[in-house]
Structure formats: C-alpha cells, structure tokens
Amino acid sequence: MKKEFEVISQIIQNNKRVLDIGCGDGTLMEYLKFNQQNDVRGLEPQKDLVQKCIAKGLSVIEGDAEKELVQFPDKSFDYAILSQTLQAFLFPEKVLKQLLRIGKQTIVSIPNFGYWKIRLHLLFKGTMPLTKNLPNEWYNTPNLHMCTIQDFVNFCKEKNIKIDRSLCLTNERISEITSGNMLYKNIFSQLGIFLIK
C-alpha cells in the first residue's frame, strides 16, 4: 500500500465509520475494513472499479461525488476521505462543503502544484508540467483545479475551515507542516494531507 494510504489509515485507527470518495479499486477501503475493522463505504464513478470493489466485499456505490453526496445525512461518518481527487472536480468548493457536512472530520490529500520540479518544468521548459504524480498532458488531464499546499491552507483560512493536522509527503517520507516551515514544505512536498473539519 502506498505511503499516503498508510498515513490516512494511521489517522483513522479502528472501529470508525468511513466514506472514501473516489475510492478507485478499493485498496485503502480494504485495508481500513479488514485490517482495522472500520465500517467503510465508497463512492466511485468508474463502473469497472466499482465492480472490483464489490468483488472484494466492499460496499461501493457507482456515482459522481458532485451530484451524489447530498444523499448522505449530516455527520453520518466519522471520516470522509478525498484522496487526490479534489482537483478533478468541476466545483471543488461545493464537494468540500458536502464532505465537511457528512464527515465529523474530513481527510483531504492534494498533489502539490508548488513542488519544485513542477515549478522548474514550467519555468524552464515553458510547457505544462508532467510528473510521476501528474502524468497527463494539459489537453487530457482530469485535473481541472490544481492547487498548491499554500493555496489549500489559504482556502481553508478564508472559508473558516479548521485544519487539525497538516502533513506532507516527499519521496515516501512524511512530515508535519507548520506555519514556520510552510514556505519550504510548499516547495519540497509532492503531496499534502490535511485533516479538517
């Protein structure tokens, strides 16, 4: 399992109700359910991935988070997870609002567009950055709203969203983001993971 999922599972611990939005093939859900005895649900737009999840015994609903989150009652989950998908929504703000409504706490991870390799790519090559995490061309990328760690933190401040924990990942190494190291982390991290409410 990738490091990001390890970090998320550590935050969640055991016996919680969890909703994984954009759960993909259910790798994280599987771990949360079978290794940590959480009660997990998933939402995923791609049929073949939903079928994979169902085969694993995971309760996943085929559907689009931009339309379907309304069906879940307020605070019906201990954690709502959105792993590297916020940037792919047409209206990320609306989706985030729904997550904060449904989950007592929400875990959001974002690929950091402020990562130094991305900055250099744009600066020197003058073309839209391609990296291991962002492998698509500008014309076929599903990512509509890229942001940096700093952008996300600013956004939360502006919208009165409380950040309980901010973590970042670089080459499988995990560390805390503080107000003191923000400038540095925003350059050297590939991924930001936030626990918000």
Binding site: K47, Q51, I54, G57, L58, I61, G63
Partner: protein, 379 residues
Amino acid sequence: MNKEVKNIKKLIVNQSLELDCGKIIKNFPIAYETYGTLNKSKSNAILAFHALSGDQFVTNINPITKQEGWWATAVGPGKAIDTNKYFVICINVLGGCMGSFGPKEINPDTNELFGTTFPVITIRDMVKAQIYLLEYLGIDKLLSITGGSMGGMQVLQFASLYPNKAHSAIPIACSASHSAQNIALNELGRQAIMADPTWNNGNYFKTNLSPDKGLAVARMAAHITYLSKKSLQEKFGRKLQDTGSLKFSFDADFQIESYLRHQGTKFVDRFDANSYLYITRAMDYFDLEKQFNGNLSSAFKNTKSKFCVISFSSDWLYPTIENKEIVMALNACGANVGFVEINSDKGHDSFLLNVPKLLKTLSEFLNSTYKEINNEKRI
C-alpha cells in the same frame, strides 16, 4: 391456459395469514423448488424471488413447460449462483399459477375455481407467505435474497419486513414503488385480457375456453417493454419474414411481428390469464415508500443486510434512476449498500440474459458475503 400442475413440491400452510386487502387465508398451498444442498449450519441458503412471468423453477428444465428455467443463465452448478456451493430456494408467488395459492385453485367454500373471486394480493402478501417455507426448512437466516424486476420488489419488501433474516440482499432492475408508466403498461395488458370475450369476467374455466388471444397480446406488449430500442433494431431491424418481400396483407411480414406473435403464443401455454391480472395488480400496488408514510428510508432503518443494488443502462422499464432511489434511501439510514449500473444494450431483460458483468458481480458479491459470514463465525 397451462396444463395441470402435478408432482411438484408444495407446502400446505396451516397457519392463517391476513392479507393486505383484509381477507384471511388459511390452509393454503405454496409451491416451491430447491437446488443444491443445504449445509449443516444452514448458512448457505439463497432465496430467489421470481418476476411476473416466472415460477419456482429457476434453473434446469422446467418439468411443466419443458423449457429451461427462467434464471438458468445465473443459477446452477459452477454458475454465478453456484448450486454446488449454495442452496437456492424459489417459491411460486401467491396469485401464481404453478401450484401456489392463486385464482386457478379451488375455493373450498364453493368447490369451484376462484377465478376473479380470488382476493387481490400484494407484494407484501407474497413475501409473508414465503416465510412459512423458511420456517419449515428450519432456515433462520438466509445467506442472500435476490431477484430482478418484481423479484427485486420482493427483495426490498422482505428486507423491510424481516430486517435480520438475510445477510445480504441483491435487488436487481426494480423499483421501490411502481411508476405511472409501469402501471399504465400493466393496465394495457389487463385490458387486453379483459377485452377477450372468452375471459368471461374471469370465469373462463366454466366454458373450458381461455382468453389466449388477450393474454398473448398482453404478453406481446409487455415483451416490448423488456427490450431496448437498440436491441430490437439490431436483432430485427426491418428484416422480413419468409419470402423477403412485402405481402401487402396483415400477416406477419416483419420478423419482429412474427417474433412477438411467437412470444405471445408460447406464453399462453404456460400461464393463466387471471394470474396475470392478479400479479400485475400486486406490482402496481407496490409502494414501499407509502408503507412508511412517504419515507422510503424508514423502510430499511433496522436492516442488518448488506445490499448490492444492480441496474442496467438500457432498462427503461425500471431505469437506473429508480434503482438509485433505493440506494439513496439505504444510504440515508446508514445501511450497508453498494450499487452498480451494468452497461447492457439488452434492456430490462438483461437480468435474465447472459450478461457477463452481471454474472460476475453476482458471483463475486455472494462469494465475499459467504466468506465474511464464515470468518465471523470462526472469530
């Protein structure tokens, strides 16, 4: 009308059952069939509910019609619902014509066939009647309940009535309340039967005739609703029957006409016209939301079952949106639910056909449920 129904498994229920219409029935038969072997712990039983035109003969050759069972694609040894592993039960619904208590049975009070004096039954009545067989077989909790179309409605009703009697539930291509369009289509079928003079207000058994023409038209109309425009176009298009040229008559020039006529005639050999009226009525009356004062979610609030709701992309009779309403209601009460819409061009009938993704989903979902409950037991 179908032939005598003999040598089939029947349970005579001696308890009395109060129907939704207020009438009380007792000492009534329910006909059933089982496949596979019930294991020692009685934990491998799956109750399959049949649809409007189905019966208890899910798979193998139906001993009455000599045709393959209605769900032979999915149920059998080594198939998605593997009878080497699971014990599959299916019961002919109340109002049916394959041995269960229905309009073709004799009314003990008059010693005549019931005909249209048979009480109007509901999906809830059908489901309540089936519980007696589970008691008789000593099955406390089913591994799963499943069915498509009206079978799916029974799944929903069962899950709501008996929240702790099934580990899992697979409603397929159905709806929690029959739509105006579906009521309209059923009414069309009923009117076709009633317009046949031999129907004789349901007393056709007295004349030894049966409203075959009316029932065949009802079946033809219904059959169109089970297919999609695309599948009809691809299979038949404007292809002509026989000579390959128009005959300038009202014979079946087009292959689609001949196909529908064949479906109609085939159906009257095995189905009772009055049963058709009763069962379509039960479907029309089905409104789970109304049973719970307009809140579908409360229908499932105590459910312990794990749901897998399945719909088909080209099904316009029970479209995805209606299946999704079930999913939403389940989510709203925190039930355990998965949902997938399966891509298929074959319309509503997809649930009966060889649609590999459906079969795969069924097999894998059942397999994971079976594994999970066996693991729990070990702990």
